[in-house]
Amino acid sequence: MQPRKVLVVDDSKLMRKMYEVMLRQYPLVYAADGREALDRLREHADIDLILLDINMPNMTGLEFLAEMRADPGNAQTKVVIISTEGREEDTARGLEAGADAYISKPFRTEQILEVISRLADSAPAETSEIPA
């Protein structure tokens, strides 16, 4: 199941432009830090995937992740951390915090498309209520 909407959380204008070009096939919404990202999540109920930077002003990626995962309504939303911090312990920390995948910058386009496709395949099928 392809994501209906992708939230890009990155304070870098360059990276936001890069995602815009790279992920033309997906509807994107943007946030420049964790606080803005929480607002976008409240505004757009159809966000299925979040591409999350770690080092951002106001609220870091990990702080945002902790807060969004505390809301059970976001349990199905997939999160991919995309960060310059690429050591193994950084990856482990991100996955423990509730991310579904971790990509180190700089990355290649096909890397990110492959991860999105893998997460889309692993997403549970939409369930429909059976009428009483």
Binding site: S12, K13, L14, M15, K17, M18, V21, M22, T84, G86, R87, S104, K105, P106, R108, T109, E110
Partner: protein, 253 residues
Amino acid sequence: MSEIDALAGHRPDLQIDLVEQLRTTVERANDLLRALEGSFAAQEPMVPKPAERIRELEHRLSTTDSDVKELASRLVESEHQSGRLMSLYVATYQLHATLSPPEVQATIAEIAIDLLGAQQFVLLLRREEGDDCEIALRQGLGPGGQAPFAGDSYLGGDPMIDATLQDGLLRLGPTEDSPALAAVPLRVQHEIVGAIVLLKLLDHKPILRPEDRDLLDLLSAHAASALFAARLFAAKDRKLRTLESLVKLARGA
């Protein structure tokens, strides 16, 4: 009693006639049989035997298999190429997207960190007066920097960087006398106005990749012109605002 006797009774003339007809019929049957055999013999090479057919199909399969592999490798290659072009497009677009000097510098830093994977780098700009370079941007070197990039100016001292500032050639290191990984000349038209010096890459990016060379060339061609255009605009804008304030003051007085 033979069948001929049964058909012709005891009339010898009829018997001879019947025998003759029988002989003609047998000869025609033999002719037909030979014609059929000839026809089969002509068709036989067109219908391959099972073993030959299997060999032919195996050959076709292996050709198709190698075609698929070649197409897959071409697809990967074109995906890489498309990724490289995307990076170049976005970097160029973003460098020229603003006329604010701090934003242009931030973009140069983002290109170095997010697209090239640089952990430590400096941006050097030649001062209008004097031989030294202003350290316009310093990343990952700590608050005071480290020699020869401590303070506000680069006074020379790294042979690779000095050579690049002199002749405008992009150099890759490290070399025996320089720890720098790359010294990228910055040009405005044909003049060398500074350099970007990459000193260390992120831990998970051990070396500069071939496609990084395109980005270094792009920085060489566009970073300085974008920064100088922004600085020029900022200076003119400041002058304009000052003049506007003076005009307002003069009108008020």
